[in-house]
């Protein structure tokens, strides 16, 4: 047997796998590092396209300018406010919908009606324009509630939570009832404490979703001063992008605008991503279990 030969080709194969994996990692990482590097480089270097993944003519000037940008911080504040309001409302509604729905039909009469309402809302929707008109007719335009209320019931999270509650051993509930606990107490004292990982998963869904959403801000806010952060950043970059796409390269562009704003915009993008980077360890921990466990039911 040519064991020697076999182990050599196996070795080459192994190396190739490592090379591909490292390559994919770098391809994902480098464009992100590029933006960070641009945010830390001088306008001149950015305009000359000299910035790779290491800042050129290192400067904190873009971040200093950012500190003095009132609209950025106003939008940042709106986004933070919105994330907390959405999170609170979502969690309350998810828990109080998922718990009764996790009961059997015999324990909760009317369950199937509610369940069908929920599932149909997942499968079909009125679409962009009717939803917009409902929000407008309720007088919510230009209020923070237009960013919070339309997504108050995250159907997917309710179903995920319901499936989790169903997996909780019945004996726990029975023991609590024998001790005289009301249904509310059973939920709060028995179910919630053992559901913390699942609750974390749906909470993170909510946080990421509302922080990243720019579209609600775009259609429900008619005044720029009311924009949440992602809508604000989007409104800044879209004009420049359209110029670039129409064939003007960024050198012409910065001449056109007198000065390169690209490093300032990059700084805005970096700062707007910091909250997500901060909770990223949690995201990795809870999203993965949520995705693997909750994506399909048997």
């Amino acid at each position: 047997m040519n064991l020697q030969n076999k182990s050599l080709s196996a070795k080459i194969g192994k190396t190739l796998i490592y090379v591909i994996i490292i390559f994919l990692g770098l391809v994902t990482l480098l464009p992100l590092l590029n933006i960070v590097a641009i945010s830390l480089s001088s306008s001149g270097a950015v305009t000359a396209n000299a910035v790779g993944i290491i800042p050129v003519n290192f400067t904190l000037e873009p971040y200093k300018m950012l500190v003095d940008d009132p609209q950025f911080w106003r939008s940042f504040g709106i986004s933070v406010q919105r994330v907390f309001l959405s999170l609170g409302l979502n969690m309350i509604l998810i828990i109080f919908m998922a718990y009764p729905l996790s009961k059997r039909k015999s324990e909760f009469k009317g369950r199937s009606i509610y369940m069908n309402l929920l599932i149909f809302a997942m499968l079909f929707n009125g679409g962009m324009i009717p939803t917009y008109l409902v929000v407008r007719n309720l007088g919510l335009l230009n209020t923070i509630w237009s960013l919070v209320l339309p997504s108050a019931v995250p159907v997917f999270s309710v179903i995920l939570m319901m499936n989790f509650f169903r997996g909780v051993p019945k004996a726990l509930e029975e023991a609590a009832i024998i001790d005289g606990a009301t249904p509310m107490q059973v939920l709060l004292r028995v179910y919630l404490p053992i559901s913390i990982p699942s609750l974390a998963t749906v909470a993170l869904f909510s946080i990421v979703g509302s922080w990243n959403d720019f579209f609600s801000g775009l259609i429900y806010m008619t005044r720029t001063t009311n924009y949440p952060l992602m809508t604000y950043i989007q409104s800044l970059t879209v004009d420049i992008q359209q110029m670039i796409q129409q064939g003007i390269n960024s050198t012409n562009l910065s001449e056109l605008m007198g000065v390169s704003d690209r490093n300032l915009n990059a700084a805005k993008i970096v700062v707007s991503s910091i909250p997500l980077i901060l909770i990223y360890p949690l995201l990795q921990k809870y999203f993965i279990t949520g995705i693997v466990v909750g994506s399909v039911k048997e």
């Binding site: 994996i21 641009i38 919908m97 929707n125 324009i129 008109l133 409902v134 249904p183 579209f215 064939g247």
Partner: protein, 317 residues
Amino acid sequence: MKLDYIFKGARIMQQRKRTASKRLTNSNLTYHLMILPGIVFLLIFNYAPMFGLVMAFQDYVPAKGIFNSDFVGFQHFAYMFSLPSIERVFTNTIVIAGGKIIFNTLLAIVFAILLNEIRVRWLKKSVQTIVYLPNFLSWVVLASVVVNMFNLDGSVNHILDNFGVGPFNFLGSNQLFRPLIIGTDVWKSFGFNSIVYLAAITSIDPGLHEAASIDGANWWRRVWHVTLPGMLPIILLLAILNLPNILNGGFDQIYNLYSPVVYQSGDIIDTYVYRVGLMGRDYSFGTAVGLFKSIIGLVLILSANQTAKKFTERQLF
């Protein structure tokens, strides 16, 4: 004496039953009250807009409202099918969404199989940490990253220049825009999509791999005959369940990257409805286009669920 006990027992049983059923009605009431707020929100923000779909059959005038606007039947649908641009919009949507589904699935599977071979723990963990990250970032942020890389004098054109090709105006070319959209979407999500496949691989019985090795199967053969068949149920299931997404081209991504120059190749149903219906205030027509999409989507998702149930004994709902 004995009979007495039995009677007493029966009485106690009856009493217990009564309190139990009383408790049951009580908890039923609590359950209804618990679910009520959520249902109210659902009715206002999900079902009221569905009622608003009536607009698609009206000549909706905001001043008259939905109850007083004139009905026009299927006029908007007829108009929609007479527009040459609508065919383009549907084609773009299907090509872009189809490309995303296919390439996202393929790369995620390949990545999961390769990653599973990595034995250096810190490297595996770091690569996972990196490739899962873009999935959590907004397309607003990533669009800037993409524009930075792909504009006329961005890094990609610099690299291509070293090989003597280019420059390419990726964002402004109708030939390159779709590949760019599909490619950058795969870049954003392949890592995250690989999680499910990785879980499927690790649940394959290692004994099968050992047996194959003893029989002299090399790595390729083991992947082909052990790993892939082991992953097949989950691959099929996700493929079926992804199918209804064929009409979702990805509004956030395209809205942040497209421009009038590439409407021809990059305008999808959602961006079209937004531009013509909402921005152009052609509410009824926009709603008609959206409704058409939603109905096809509903049919697709119901058939996908049936198919999944039939072949894999699992379902989405």
